[in-house]
């Protein structure tokens, strides 16, 4: 076969494939639309009656929430953990948390960093109960090179892996930038617990559903601060509306060099950190 012959053959083949592809797409679209039924336009963010959503005093299209953590201020008092458990009816035990605090300690002459959180057995013993939280003074007699506390919570990512894997639509990202869980639709498969690169989700055996931080959605929609921010005595936690250029979080991001955890995962987190080392992720 020479080149003169092959040209028309190739063109014909391309045209045929293009038609085939188009036909398949059309068929797929028809079938898809038919299968799903009539889907209303998803782009309508506000209810048609002109009221606000999700409550009558709060319009989620007007906000874009964000969270800041200044690890240089954290004193590790764990009042945030306590307040969160109380506010959100999180199981009172030492292994399920919506927010938690980690301690990073470099000892003199040691290569690896020592990391513990309030769930460490030594810290549980110091608190005297699994229902109370405190950091034990365990490095009192050690030579500490460097140490700091890091509060952690759900990052409310812009592209959350947990939402992507949910088979039932029980977890989703709201218009105002909060990732929520619909406990009525969660079937307890725990895909999301596995998918989160930050370990922010846990499974609540009692309720049979996955659970995690909501940035206290029931508080922020009423104009209050999340419980952990409200009780933090040193201002290590900052919360606000990124659409408001004078809000605490906007100022925090503007006035500090901030970073997010594990940016390489592509989740685009919305909790911004100041004062953490490379070991923190």
């Amino acid at each position: 076969m020479n080149q003169e012959d092959s040209k028309p053959t190739l063109a014909a083949r391309r045209a045929f494939l293009a038609k085939l592809g188009g036909a398949a797409t059309c068929a797929g679209a028809v079938m898809g639309a038919a299968t799903l039924g009539a889907i209303p336009a998803v782009s309508a963010k506000a209810p048609p009656d002109g009221g606000s959503f999700p409550t009558k005093d709060y319009d989620w299209t007007k906000h874009e929430w964000g969270f800041g953590v200044d690890a240089t201020k954290c004193i590790g008092c764990l009042r945030c953990v306590e307040a969160c458990k109380r506010e959100n009816d999180v199981p009172r035990n030492a292994h399920q948390f919506r927010t938690w605090v980690e301690r990073y300690v470099h000892l003199e002459g040691e290569e690896a960093v020592r990391i513990d959180s309030q769930q460490d057995p030594v810290n549980i013993e110091a608190s005297g109960s699994e229902k109370e939280f405190r950091f034990a003074n365990r490095y009192k007699d050690a030579k500490v090179d460097k140490a700091f506390f890091v509060p952690k919570l759900c990052n409310h990512c812009t592209h959350p892996a947990c939402v992507q894997v949910c088979p039932t639509g029980a977890t989703y990202r709201t218009e105002d930038g909060v990732v929520l869980i619909d406990h009525g639709y969660c079937i307890g498969c725990r895909y999301c617990v596995q998918a989160c690169p930050y370990g922010a989700r846990f499974f609540d055996e009692e309720k049979g559903v996955s659970d995690k931080c909501t940035w206290c959605y029931h508080r922020i929609t009423k104009g209050l601060q999340p419980a952990c921010v409200e009780v933090c005595p040193v201002g290590a936690r900052v919360f606000g509306d990124q659409k408001d250029k004078q809000s605490p979080i906007s100022l925090f991001i503007r006035n500090n060099r901030v970073q997010v955890l594990r940016p390489e995962t592509g989740n685009a987190p919305n909790v911004f950190y100041v004062g953490i080392d490379k070991e923190v992720n």
Partner: protein, 325 residues
């Protein structure tokens, strides 16, 4: 079309029809309203009731406490951090007052690697012999006034300046009158603090205010050194109307700062031993009424009756002004 193909196609078509018909019945209305989730669940979550009520909620009833707290260095520690969530209070009863202050306060104030330097921290084993923190610190206003006042005055210069004081406080710092305090042997740091308060207007007294305003800071230092150095021996235990024994048992609450017999360990706080009973009564009543302002004293004097005050005054007045140690 071969028969088996026809059957297959009709089977698939049948499934499709059933699926299309069943889908709207099996999907709740609010699903797909904004996306692949139930819109009503957002409303449900947003509708939950907040448990922590914020300090603003406490302010209306606990006005006085709120004012004291919000002016103190503890204003960043909200009410509910120590007293628990206020949801259901006052309907469902009182909120707890923390019993073990050492356990609570050290959550933030125990010296620990990792805590920023700006955080006030104590070595738990070496601070206050393990006493409850609330004995010396008012949790609603924890900073102890002028605890670290340094006195470096000249007693001789103070003696000259003291000429204006002798009419009321006596030539040797021992007052001839029941309502004016003895100054001889008083803690210098306390004298500096109280004179400075009269000078600045933080504390007011018809006689003392103009006198103190005429003093320079150096005068105050000198006077304090002079009176602190005087001998208080001439002030024997005074007799007063109150019940000394009752006062002694009440005074246990004061011992943390003022010592068992009215001689405390911290020079920022006044010695009470052998002080004039009339003066002690007036001072306690002034604290109770808010005329003299001190966060710690306001708290402890609040619960004292007039009889309690008289008993306490009688007890301290009857003590020896010299340390038995």
């Amino acid at each position: 079309m071969p028969k088996h193909i026809f059957r297959l196609v009709s089977l698939i078509a049948g499934f499709l029809v059933v699926a299309i018909v069943a889908k709207p019945f099996l999907t709740v209305d609010s699903f797909y309203r904004f996306g692949h989730y139930r819109a009503n669940s957002v409303t449900e979550i947003a509708g939950q009731e907040p448990v922590l009520q914020t300090a603003r909620y406490c302010q209306d009833c606990h006005t006085e406490r709120h004012a004291q707290w919000s002016a103190s260095s503890h204003k960043s520690v909200t009410c509910e951090v120590c007293h628990g969530a206020a949801l259901g209070h006052p309907q469902n009863g009182k909120l707890p007052i923390p019993k073990d202050a050492v356990k609570l306060c050290t959550l933030c104030h125990e010296a620990m690697a990792g805590r920023p330097r700006s955080q006030p921290q104590i070595e738990v084993g070496q601070h206050a012999n393990g006493q409850q923190c609330t004995i010396c610190h008012n949790p609603h206003s924890p900073k102890i006034a002028a605890a670290s006042v340094k006195v470096a005055g000249n007693a001789a210069a103070g003696k000259q300046r003291a000429a204006d004081c002798t009419a009321c406080h006596g030539a040797a710092g021992l007052s001839p009158n029941d309502t004016w305090p003895n100054l001889a042997g008083q803690n210098a740091a306390y004298l500096v603090r109280i004179l400075s308060a009269y000078k600045s207007g933080d504390q007011k007294d018809v006689a003392m205010t103009p006198l103190a305003q005429a003093l320079s800071d150096a005068d105050i230092q000198n006077l304090a050194s002079y009176y602190a150095g005087l001998d208080c021996k001439g002030a024997p235990g005074e007799k007063a109307a109150g019940d000394v024994a009752a006062g002694k048992s009440l005074a246990k609450n004061c011992a943390g700062c003022h010592g068992e017999t009215g001689i405390g360990s911290n020079p920022a706080w006044p010695k009470l031993a052998a002080q004039k009973p009339g003066y002690l009564v007036n001072a306690l009543k002034a604290f109770k009424a808010g005329l003299r302002k001190d966060p710690m004293m306001a708290g402890v004097s609040r619960g004292l009756s007039d009889t309690d005050i008289a008993d306490l005054a009688a007890y301290y007045a009857a003590q020896s002004c010299q340390s038995t140690k």
